[in-house]
Subunit: 260 residues, 2 copies
């Protein structure tokens, strides 16, 4: 049974996104877009209401044709999930049945680990109006619920796929949560920063701003702390030196003219 | 100035969602839905292309009317962010300018902690086609980028709002991972920061530093971006005003003496 030999799937692929009886072609297209946003490409369709292929899906997918072209059609959820080892059922509803329920984040962590172990995963999404039926849920081992405002939790199909895909995409990625982009320049060294402080403070003594010996230490501390927090680049420090020089220049000239 | 007194905002509210020149009413409506999904209710609109109120927005919001009814209209980003202390700019693009960039998850953690400290936050979203301009980014202190498939990363407006809101909604109210201690002062509002920019730039035009019209826009952007990143307090801005005034004073005198 080739269809159930899950070892045939390319390793490292993401989970299959399985749309159960989707009603509108547009929604299949926007779901394909959301998949592509998240580098997912295994789209499976169970009895799409308006048939397949769908021009409306292609139009709505604008650019995610690759996902649509690869999409496969199945007569039942059982057939669509036959080669999978772990199946999550996405639903917003409390069905009153016994099940294991996870958040998209938890599901993403589990799927990463399953897929790394060679165990293919998939996520079921129900029809737009009704969602998955209780009988559909019995074909999944885990329920996946997006934790949202309880009074207003319904998402459209593409949004639900996007949240699941987004969590999949960012889970375990090495990407830092914070980056300082410095363009063509590089972060300034502390020596360069001190050099700027000295330039600035020298001019501030000269123009009188730091003349009061009582307030001077705290003024200097405040200014230094402010520029430390900005994490300046070397280029920005050169700009700041230029600012100070531009300000100080006329002062020098005015002093020369006896006005200082 | 009631408009800049951020302590007036009700505690516990979420970040403001600021749509900059949104083109289609439908997109404002679906963004409002996404906000409601995530229990956000402070929608601000800067120059919506097709006017306001919008029947198309109401139709697309289906059920999120409450968010639309409360929406406020502003002529500029500066006006829309005047009462905020922390502003994130949502953008997918690499702009080649120096900025601090965070993921939606990191932004959510930071906003939770800022808002708990009584410091209002907001997130800017650009027009559908073009996104935010570089000049718009200088009105934010941090760039927010959703880490997605680099080859296919564009999200529609409602999806971008949903991801930011989803991370906001699920981020626990655990202890903040990062705090800025501001001593006896308070964080400056964006209106106060803009006021300093204007003072600084006026004097830099006067002393010739910004005289070259070709390099001027990027010079201004670089300086603004640097001070945005520093997250100045109100007291520090007063010190900076003093610095600029101290520098500018003699220049004025030297001009009076015919040396300018």
């Amino acid at each position: 049974m080739a269809g159930t030999d899950h070892r045939r799937r390319a390793p490292g692929g993401g989970p299959a996104i399985i749309l159960v009886e989707p009603q509108l072609g547009e929604n299949i297209g926007t779901a394909a877009r959301a998949m592509m946003n998240c580098a997912l490409d295994d789209l499976r369709l169970v009895r799409p209401r308006d048939g397949w292929p769908s021009d409306k899906a292609v139009a709505a997918a604008s650019g995610a044709d690759m996902v649509l072209n690869k999409a496969r059609l199945y007569p039942t959820i059982a057939a669509a999930t036959a080669d999978l080892v772990h199946v999550f059922a996405s639903t917003a509803r409390d069905r009153g049945i016994v099940r294991r329920e996870v958040t998209p984040r938890r599901a993403a962590i589990e799927m990463k680990s399953h897929i790394a172990a060679g165990e293919p995963c998939g996520v079921l999404f129900g029809p737009e109006r009704t969602g998955l039926l209780n009988d559909d849920l019995t074909l999944a081992d885990t329920v996946l619920t997006v934790p949202l405002n309880p009074g207003f939790s319904s998402l459209n199909l593409a949004q639900a796929v996007l949240i699941v895909g987004y969590e999949w995409y960012i889970t375990g990625s090495e990407a830092p949560s914070e980056t300082l982009h410095t363009g063509l320049s590089r972060p300034a060294t502390k020596a360069e920063l001190l050099n700027f402080f000295e330039h600035l403070e020298e001019e501030l003594v000269r123009n009188g701003f730091l003349r009061n010996p009582e307030s001077r230490p705290s003024m200097v501390r405040n200014l230094r702390s402010l520029f430390q927090r900005a994490h300046c680049t070397e280029q920005e420090l050169r700009t700041l030196h230029g600012v100070v020089t531009a300000f100080a220049g006329p002062r020098q000239r005015s002093k020369d003219a006896g006005l200082g």
